[in-house]
Symmetry: C3
Subunit: 280 residues, 3 copies
């Protein structure tokens, strides 16, 4: 017996359709980026979904990739671009349950993204049409780069450190050596240094702090943005932080079996020099 | 050994006295209605306690009944009416613990309602005198009516649907057919439909969605009020929603072994017609 | 292999150094007093750490003692006084984890207090320099006094009672008799009395309500301060309340194996008389 009540019909016009059994990942992804970027283009092709956008103040860059093979079903007949207000999409995703299966669909004219949320037992079905918009954007090339230091740590540890230091000051010095990573902040009330030692003994591999480095590095960043990146914590148990002198830091959350979200933030050059001078 | 410290003495003057071992139900009931109605009359007789009141904006009607036989002790010598400020009563009930036994008492002159909260082990006794007031009210007859569709669903599901749709729009279309109940909202960001299918397979009887209908029906309501009715969710695991064309919806929470709280809300007639037209 | 990254070096200059394995106690202590007192002197000697301060409005007195033998390591070469902004210290202690070991250190010139937080596994080390200040204060002698009634109750019970009564009125009458302790508040909406009976049957000794008294006593206090004292609840499972006619109440939280925090609040003399009259 079919149920005629849902308006979601996959007709000939459908050119994009993607089904994700672990639908909560989509909700977490949108929550991880919606405060930095409000209106963005999602580029969809048969290899998956990509987004790349500067934040509203043009200070940092946010990018994500969801691979087609990470979905339980994925079809895209022709590349298409969906202009999405992330705040509105987040409101809609709040209507999905944490165990819901999520299906996305768009057709040729591309003025609507249809989302369907199915409860595990199929007894509740939500379908939503989100109005799309035309958004101008230039594609920014992100050059591959060799990093001076590639570090990995539990994402909850990163979240906690940048949150804690925010109560001390506005900027953080991050320095990496063979022994560990040091985060330092200075403010009116005093100075604070948090040091993570390299470890290999944690019960779970992802709880270890790992550092691979070519040269020691010291960089200064605005804590506000590093704090904002930590909104991706629910997506991954670990975070990679890549550091190179005078170049943007890359903060990378891998989404298991599906893709990644990456954040890039330029260092504060002048203040770094001062900090180095003060530190020496 | 008696303890002379509490001022609560049940003297000859007492004409109303009711003891409820599961006192938290009284707290939940007051929390379920206090935002809609601020000053109400409780009508007390030897059959129990009744309240019936329009909300402050005279848009919806709230009624509850607590049966005398649902209390662990109930005595009312003569019918009496207690004028109660529900906000003040809620403040007082916040002083009761979740496992406290609650006793209410009023005497002839009726200017005070005395509440006593006893902890399980009787080691903490709270007694409070709430000032009563004189409230004018007219008794509103609620005619029994035949409903087009009588539906039942988990109260948590109802709560979630009306909350979720509130982030999409201000009004909701509710339609019932044999297959299920559909809630639809439309707003600036798009449209959303949530469909509950009729089920009979849930592990617990109260988790099923049930629909008994004489004819399909489609009605439009202000979400704000339906949302407010959901404050009764802690009182019952299921909620009944009764729908009839052009007549108020009745949202009904049964309080096990004690009584019920019911809400009535008139449909938005004009907008419903538009909605029907738009839907067809 | 030593780790050169932390700036904390215990040099010859160090004259105060104290290590507390259960570092969370220090955090809880500062949270318990920081809203009453903003800038205070900590007096440090080889017997431990003492503080004594009037609150900002000069209505109540706060005192704590942490005994040297309660620390896992304690060294103080010469008595010294540290002028501390408790709000800033609280911000810094927020950077410590709940299982961290905390070490405090100060040297001769006394313009900085250095705190070190070590995680259980030693894989995260935080070191913070808190700027100290010069604070004028006079030492207030607190005379030993014989109390009319010495009561002890679960600290969670005390917390709940003063919080609950705050929703009824601004002041509380506390009366103690052999049978129990009664807290009464009166406000626009009515009056409330909460009575705790003396008990001896609780499963855990600290859950009992105990009263040792020389004479019955009735005193009136501002609820706002009694409420504030309850911020020490996490420090101890029981609280002692000492009452004497016309003298300040003492509210005492013992910190197991380490020391105590005590609060003193003068009664509201005039209002007490009225209250007594009204009660009779």
């Amino acid at each position: 017996m079919t149920m005629p009540m849902t308006s979601l019909s996959f007709t000939e016009d459908t050119m994009f359709e993607a089904r994700l059994i672990q639908g909560s990942l989509l909700k977490k992804l949108v929550d991880a980026i919606k405060e930095l970027c409000t209106e963005v283009n999602w580029d969809i092709s048969n290899s998956g979904i990509n987004m790349q956008s500067m934040d509203g103040s043009h200070v940092c860059l946010v990018a994500f990739n969801l691979r087609a093979d990470g979905f339980d079903h994925f079809r895209c007949d022709r590349p298409l671009t969906l202009g999405i207000n992330l705040g509105n999409l987040a409101k809609i995703l709040k209507c999905s349950g944490s165990n819901d299966i999520i299906t996305m669909k768009a057709d040729d004219n591309g003025d609507t993204l249809t989302l369907m949320f199915e409860s595990e037992k199929q007894d509740r079905i939500t379908d939503v049409d989100l109005k799309l918009m035309s958004i101008e954007s230039e594609h920014l090339g992100i050059p591959d780069q060799d990093y001076s230091a590639e570090t990995s740590m539990p994402s909850s540890e990163y979240q906690r450190i940048v949150r804690d230091l925010s109560s001390i000051g506005d900027t953080v010095n991050i320095s990496a050596t063979k022994e560990g990573i040091k985060f330092s902040a200075m403010g009116d009330i005093g100075t604070a240094n948090i040091t993570l030692r390299q470890t290999s003994s944690a019960d779970k591999e992802e709880e270890n702090v790992k550092i691979e480095m070519k040269e020691p590095v010291l960089l200064t960043f605005a804590l506000r943005y590093l704090n904002n990146f930590a909104k991706a914590t629910p997506l991954s148990s670990t975070v990679q932080v890549f550091l190179t002198k005078d170049l943007p830091v890359q903060v990378n959350y891998n989404i298991q079996d599906l893709g990644y979200v990456k954040y890039y933030l330029a260092p504060k050059i002048e203040e770094e020099d001062e900090a180095v001078a003060a530190d020496e």
